[in-house]
């Protein structure tokens, strides 16, 4: 039986606590009275995964069983979440592989021979063959990859996009033509956090810039409170409108999966445990890891972390109608991640880990670190933010990883030129987004190399818009001062210094809450 999440109040007996900071972590002593939110322990995993998948496909929610929807001569497309999920990547076999293999088996049994598989990467970078192979498995890759029947979605291939129509709010719905013109679109999702899945899968993952711009903008995202609660997120409201329009034109069979909180493999399991419960072996691992990280060159540290594969256990799989499925998915996600928190605090502390959705096998540049901290981690709440309006956020990350020129070419220009002029999401959106979105070189690199779309750094900045609007102070502990200044924030050398720096806003005895994430959690703030 796994224990639920809880809120610790730091007292005299509390040991130093793990705080993630990029490619490393530190043990921090927090002031007495600091609240520390721990995620629930890992839920038990489903033992027979293949049977669970089969059951979901044969007994879907509000739809006919999958075999009943398959027939000879039909056009079947299987879309799946890209490399941005889950985090860290899942130890092989990936759950998407196991699902896709069963779907393909049923399709073969039904005589379906027009099948294509599309990675729903929207404006994310094209995945490499190795990354695709890791997700779908060797067998599927060999059967479809070389024939060109398994590929990344191309949001700039205008011949292969189809404009479905406008929502009642005038939002363009434009998605991958193959998917749109299929008799059945099967979408295979990994619902790592509550933000994922539902109508965020097809209307976003297979969309074009023309469609995405309606919800990925400063105005919508600053009003999404929070991204982890689709009923209160304007971004999700837009995606839901688009999904409902799509449903009128397209038969979508949504398969959603949830995983438990087993995010760190051996010998890093101690990162998932509560510090006062560390065994002697755990303490030895902590010591060894800290020593190794303190002397390891940057490239070795990158390799140590980015080669981690999470031993996730499957906690649920549901298939069928998108909205009905997603309700069940969210219930499981909440069971794994929801923690009740009583009231807001003056200061929110966040440790930004080495990995976010957009630096898998890449580097966490300062813009991505901002998105990870102020976008994803800040928004890990339901109800109201953990920090009060006008409060402060203190983040841990060195902001020194630099930019991956292959994956993030437009980020370099965004950081050097745009943030130098303004850090206001609305201002930079109005002045520069179109330039980056239509830049032919960025489009070329997105389509032919492995670069995120030119507009992507803007989206990262918009993700942080709600946090930037909500709090008055943002300080990065251990952050590079020049990088922090470019981002419009400040850097401190220690937590004590950071508290001193924000004292003008929150006073000298502020209430502090530390979100001990990862593993993932959602603060259900009352």
């Amino acid at each position: 039986m796994s224990r639920p999440g809880f809120v610790l109040e730091v007292d005299d007996r509390t040991p130093p606590l793990v705080v993630h900071e990029g490619q490393g972590f530190r043990l921090e002593e927090f002031p007495l009275g600091t609240r520390v939110i721990y995620p629930p322990e890992s839920l038990p995993a489903i033992d027979d995964v293949d049977a669970a998948i089969r059951e979901a496909l044969l007994e879907p929610v509000d739809q006919a069983p999958l075999p009943a929807q398959l027939r000879p001569g039909m056009r079947l497309t299987i879309a799946f979440d890209d490399v941005s999920l889950p985090l860290p990547p899942m130890r092989a076999p990936d759950i998407r592989q196991r699902i896709i293999e069963q779907v393909l088996t049923m399709a073969a049994e039904a005589g379906v021979d027009d099948v294509q598989l599309i990675a729903a990467n929207a404006l994310h970078r094209r995945m490499t063959p190795a990354e695709l192979r890791h997700i779908v498995g060797e067998r599927v890759w060999r059967s479809f990859g070389p024939q060109g029947l398994l590929y990344n979605h191309d949001a700039e291939d205008h011949d292969n996009l189809r404009h479905i129509g406008l929502t009642d709010k005038g939002e363009d719905v434009e998605i991958n033509r193959r998917a749109a013109e299929s008799d059945l679109l099967v979408y295979v999702n990994v619902n790592l956090v509550a933000m994922d899945g539902g109508h965020k899968s097809v209307p976003i993952g297979l969309a074009s810039y023309k469609s995405l711009r309606h919800h990925h903008n400063a105005k919508t995202m600053v009003r999404s409170h929070s991204f982890m609660d689709h009923e209160k997120s304007h971004l999700h409201h837009s995606a839901w409108r688009m999904g409902r329009l799509l449903k009128e034109h397209l038969n979508i069979f949504q398969i959603e999966t949830t995983v438990n909180n087993d995010v760190f493999p051996a010998p890093y399991e101690f990162l998932m445990k509560r510090e006062w419960e560390w065994s002697v072996k755990d303490q030895a691992s902590v010591l060894a890891a800290r020593r190794a990280l303190s002397v390891a060159p940057r490239r070795l540290k990158h390799k140590m972390f980015h080669e981690l594969r999470a031993p996730y256990g499957l906690t649920g799989i549901h298939a069928g109608d998108t909205e009905a499925v997603h309700e069940r998915t969210l219930a499981t996600v909440h069971r794994q991640q929801l923690v009740e928190v009583d009231g807001q605090s003056d200061v929110l502390v966040l440790g930004v880990p080495y990995l976010g959705p957009y630096n898998v096998n890449s580097s966490m540049n300062p813009v991505l670190a901002t998105c990870m901290g102020l976008g994803y981690l800040f928004n890990s709440y339901r109800g109201q933010p953990v920090v009060r309006r006008g409060g402060a956020v203190i983040l841990y990350h060195p902001l020194d990883e630099g930019f991956n020129q292959l994956h993030h070419p437009s980020y370099v220009d965004f950081y050097d030129e745009i943030l130098a002029e303004s850090t206001d999401p609305a201002v930079i959106e109005a002045k520069y987004e179109q330039q980056f979105a239509t830049d032919p070189w960025y489009i070329h690199l997105y389509r032919t190399s492995h670069a995120y779309h030119g507009v992507h750094p803007f989206y990262m900045w918009y993700w942080a818009a709600h946090a930037m609007d909500h709090v008055d102070e943002v300080v990065w502990v251990g952050g590079d001062r020049r990088a922090a200044a470019r981002l419009g924030f400040r850097a401190a050398s220690s937590f004590a210094d950071a508290l001193e720096m924000v004292s003008g806003t929150v006073g000298t005895s502020p209430s502090i809450t530390y979100l001990r994430n990862p593993p993932h959690l959602i603060a259900d703030t009352r």
Partner: protein, 403 residues
């Protein structure tokens, strides 16, 4: 007799300069330059139209520093006569009457020693007003010398007294400070650069370098052409401020120049193998190299669109010209200024320059001019080498000064 700095022939110092001048220019010009402070006879040319002048200020130009640190091409060796007193950016007082100009008139000097100054029949270039292209700069009444400041007979601004021909003299208007006036000659060069650049309306211009050459070129191009966006490459913060005040649309650091132009022009950036410099397919319509270094020239070549124009405003270093061939670039030289500029209805570049230096932008630049007496020439040259870093646009000698 007068006090002057004299550039003399020294094979050993020239060899040292060629070997180390590129890496240690400051040290070299201070302690190993072929320059010395001497007491010599005042220069004298007993021919009609010539007069003596007493130097008030004389600037240190990039070409002076290049010569002192051994970086100037031997191409120019037949065009100078040794020993000579350097200094071709000059504001001075007439010691004696010179035709219509009475003694005491404050003048700036157009340094080009043309047919008129040399007492020979005008060559085709001089007849046409393109005096900077004069073909007789090695003959006539004077020893060889492309300009005052490179000729053994005329003296130069880095001495107390020099001689100049009436055709070279331009009176300084009342109200212009000496510091403004000293910028008139480089401003005239910038006017010539702007006209040679052939910029059409709304064309995008890159100016690589924000020393005095680049800054004044920015002003001239903004004032005299219909250029659209002007991007200036500047290393130092104060250069950024000046460039924006003089008409730049945007200022970028050297390392960011290609990326900025790529983005603003929608060009493609490609990177050759083995660490060679990246370049654009596409880019600016016109690029001006206002430094003359290999890096600056290659930035200009690599950032210009196919069929565009690269203007050599600084004395150029050897560079990879592959882009000029492959992108069919027009490479345009721009040297000094002409008495009758094409595009100015026959007006001289000095006339326009005199108007431009009266403006706020150049007035502000003039306030950064740092002057030194002749005996502190080592400090002056060190300062000139680090002018950008030290916030100075122009270093000058004031032979009248004792401190």
């Amino acid at each position: 007799m007068m006090l002057a700095l004299e550039f003399y022939r020294s094979v050993s110092r020239h060899v040292v300069g060629k070997a180390a001048g590129g890496r240690l220019p400051g040290l070299l010009s201070g302690y190993a330059a072929p320059l010395r402070l001497v007491t010599v006879e005042e220069p004298r040319v007993d021919r009609p139209g010539w007069a003596r002048l007493r130097t008030r200020l004389s600037g240190v130009c990039g070409s002076d520093l290049g010569a002192l640190s051994g970086r100037t091409s031997l191409y120019f060796s037949p065009l100078v006569s040794m020993p000579f007193v350097p200094g071709h950016e000059i504001v001075a007082d007439l010691i004696e009457d010179c035709e219509d100009l009475p003694a005491g008139t404050r003048v700036v000097v157009d340094p080009v020693l043309t047919c008129a100054a040399r007492g020979v029949d005008p060559c085709d270039a001089c007849v046409g007003g393109a005096t900077n292209r004069c073909g007789r700069i090695t003959v006539g009444d004077l020893a060889p010398g492309l300009q005052t400041g490179f000729c053994a007979d005329t003296g130069g601004g880095w001495g107390e007294v020099l001689v100049a021909h009436r055709s070279q003299l331009h009176p300084v208007p009342e109200g212009h400070s000496d510091e403004q006036a000293i910028l008139t000659e480089p401003m005239a060069c910038a006017v010539h650069t702007a006209l040679r650049a052939g910029i059409r309306d709304n064309e995008r211009v890159l100016i690589s370098g924000a020393g005095s050459v680049g800054l004044l070129a920015t002003l001239a191009i903004r004032t005299l052409t219909g250029a659209g966006e002007i991007t200036v490459v500047a290393k130092h913060h104060h250069q950024r401020e000046h460039a924006l005040a003089l008409g730049a649309t945007e200022v970028v650091e050297p390392g960011a120049a290609l990326r900025r132009l790529r983005r603003t022009t929608g060009a493609f950036l490609v990177t050759p193998e083995l660490g060679a410099a990246s370049y654009l397919l596409g880019g600016a319509d016109v690029a001006v190299d206002a430094v003359g270094s290999k890096q600056s020239l290659e930035t200009a070549l690599h950032a210009t669109r196919a069929g565009g124009r690269v203007v050599l405003s600084g004395m150029p270093a050897a560079a990879d010209l592959s882009a000029a061939w492959f992108r069919e670039l027009e490479v345009v030289g721009t040297y000094a200024s002409a008495r009758s500029e094409t595009g100015l209805d026959g007006r001289s570049a000095f006339e326009i320059a005199t108007e431009l230096v009266a403006g706020d932008g150049v007035t502000s630049l003039a306030k950064t001019v740092a002057s030194y007496p002749l005996h502190r020439w080592r400090e002056a040259l060190d300062h000139a080498h680090g002018a950008g870093r030290l916030g100075t646009v122009k270093v000058a000698f004031d032979p009248r000064s004792e401190r």
